[in-house]
């Protein structure tokens, strides 16, 4: 059974159709590459799944649950997380604190237990800090753990976002252009990292990326969008030879 099922999603902004009747499915453990020229609606889809936008029509189900019935802060409860194209870190906190907030959903300390530093809260806090440290170590960021999240190189910030998404034991991670702003070498190691993380944590990854070599290299399924519509869907090797795709996307680049 498919883990994520997007069916007949349309999003309308004023007179513009950002997404037009989009449907696709993702299986558990899959890396799905979502590609398309600029303005094709990829980030719009992320914003629909993460409940920042309301679609005009259609439905999104994750593991049989209706995501559209949830609010933005509720979808993390079913294990759906994302990163942002232009980063959504919290520069006023240190790197490790950023990662600790990543597991906000699965931790419980409340205002009273925190203000009084009750034993239950201290235990949870220590465990959380250890797990955050482990996540940082896994991504190779322990050197900057106590550095403020502001003022670090762009590539490092992108990796912090990854660590933050990892700490919560997610089932689905949506990566929005993780390779943008990285050097060639960094892109290659990122591709390897993503595959490793998927294997180690049983992740399902929805990847939006312009870097074609990377997408084709690690995706097990491709969905190609153009002007909000799906023009191809399936095995990367098949899709990359689809004449419409070459026309709309690969041909132009």
């Amino acid at each position: 059974m498919a883990l994520l099922e997007v069916s007949e999603i349309s999003v309308q902004f004023g007179g513009i159709r950002a997404l037009d009747d989009l449907s696709f499915t993702m299986d558990e453990g899959q890396i799905l590459g979502l590609i398309g020229p600029n303005g094709a609606g990829k980030t719009t889809l992320f914003n629909v799944v993460s409940r920042i936008y309301d679609p005009t029509t259609g439905s999104v189900t994750f593991d049989g649950q209706d995501l559209l019935a949830m609010s933005a802060h509720e979808i993390s409860r079913v294990g759906v997380y994302r990163t942002f194209q232009n980063l959504a870190l919290w520069p006023g906190m240190s790197v490790i604190e950023n990662v600790m907030v990543g597991d906000h959903t699965n931790t419980k300390a409340n205002v009273i237990s925190s203000a009084l530093r009750l034993p239950s809260m201290r235990k949870e806090e220590n465990e959380l800090r250890d797990r955050a440290w482990a996540a940082l170590e896994e991504i190779g960021l322990e050197d900057v753990a106590y550095h403020p999240a502001a003022g670090l190189p762009f590539g490092t910030l992108k990796r912090i976002e990854l660590a933050r998404a990892l700490i919560a034991n997610p089932r689905l991670i949506m990566l929005d252009e993780p390779a943008s702003g990285l050097t060639h070498q960094e892109v290659d190691s990122l591709a390897q990292d993503i595959k490793n993380l998927r294997d180690r944590h049983n992740l399902t990854i929805l990847l939006v990326e312009h870097h074609m070599r990377m997408v084709l290299g690690i995706s097990e399924k491709l969905v190609v969008l153009n002007f909000g519509r799906k023009i191809a869907d399936g095995d990367p090797d098949v899709v990359r030879n689809d004449p419409e795709v070459i026309e709309a996307y690969l041909g132009s680049s």
Binding site: R51, I52, S71, A72
Partner: protein, 316 residues
């Protein structure tokens, strides 16, 4: 309990003319909000300063009142541009705190400087509608026009006509002049306006200029109802204007005027008439200001974008 409907129209007229003034100040707030998504808390004090300029030009220098008003509006507009250029433009408009702090600082400085120059006493400023043309009928020494058997003050009529003309001119400026069109472009989308070559900074200055001029107009019109001008004259009016702007929708110019008028009506009818006349209890009149607060809360609870604002309210 006496539902005395005979004098209700008097209260309605009174509410409409107060409301028109709130609407003017609300317009000043919205003109700046539309362009920058900021609330200028110094709006009231800038308006007060404008009213004092009129006081100096007219009462002290003996200039014709309407000419003084035009000069004061022009000077306030200049001051508005100056403030925008020097104090608010260096800051990123999406970060609200610094600019709000700047406007609060201006609020304190303008109020204190005015207090230092003119003291905190009320100074009489001539009523723009104090001299009556001969066709206005006289009722007991005062001038009224009878409408539906009720007395409509000549002054209220004067305020409405003045505002109608001002709004008409504002409409012309926004729809016919280059600066006005640029302002509308910037306030609907800064990024795309910049892309098509609109000088956004200059345009925001234009918004501040018009807003300051409108504030001055409002302050001069309200002065006779307060017995004159004084440095604290705009304190409560700003609150009513904020309520009016919220009710109309913070990004709607027409909404600001209508919202201000509605707040004036609520104050005059729902609070004063019902409270004082019907229930005969004075405490209801203390609640006038509280009514503004409650209006804001109710608007936020049921219709955060206001009556006429665009529904751009984001959940996240």
């Amino acid at each position: 309990m006496t539902w005395n409907f005979d004098i209700l129209p008097d209260f309605i007229f009174n509410g409409l003319s107060l409301g028109a003034i709130y609407g003017t100040v609300a317009l000043a707030l919205v003109l700046i909000f539309k362009a920058t998504t900021l609330i200028n808390f110094a709006t009231g004090e800038l308006a007060m300063l404008g009213a004092f300029l009129v006081y100096v030009l007219h009462m002290e220098q003996g200039l014709w009142l309407w000419l003084s008003m035009l000069i004061a509006m022009a000077l306030s507009a200049g001051l508005g541009v100056l403030i925008e250029r020097t104090l608010t433009r260096p800051f990123d408009p999406s970060d609200h705190l610094p600019v709000v702090l700047i406007t609060l600082g201006l609020f304190l400085i303008i109020n204190a400087v005015a207090g230092d120059i003119w003291n905190y006493q009320v100074r009489i400023l001539s009523n723009p509608f104090g001299q009556f043309p001969s066709w206005v009928p006289s009722v007991g020494g005062d001038r009224f026009i009878m409408v539906f058997g009720s007395r409509l003050k000549y002054q209220s009529l004067g305020i409405w006509v003045t505002l109608a003309i001002a709004l008409f001119l504002l409409g012309l400026i926004l729809n016919r002049t280059k600066a006005g069109l640029a302002f509308r472009a910037v306030s609907s989308n800064v990024e795309s306006a910049r892309l098509v070559g609109v000088h956004t900074g200059r345009t925001l200055g234009f918004g501040w200029a018009i807003a300051s001029a409108f504030g001055t107009l409002g302050a001069v019109l309200v002065a006779p109802q307060l017995g004159g001008v004084n440095p604290n004259m705009m304190a409560t009016i700003l609150i009513y204007a904020l309520a009016g702007a919220a009710l109309g929708g913070l990004d709607s110019l027409g909404g600001a005027v209508l919202g201000g008028i509605l707040v004036g009506l609520i104050q005059a009818v729902a609070v004063t008439w019902v409270g004082v006349v019907v229930f005969g209890q004075l405490y209801m009149s203390i609640l006038q200001l509280a009514a503004a607060f409650i209006v804001i809360l109710i608007v936020l609870l049921f219709r955060p974008s206001g009556l006429f604002g665009t529904r751009r309210v984001e959940r996240v």
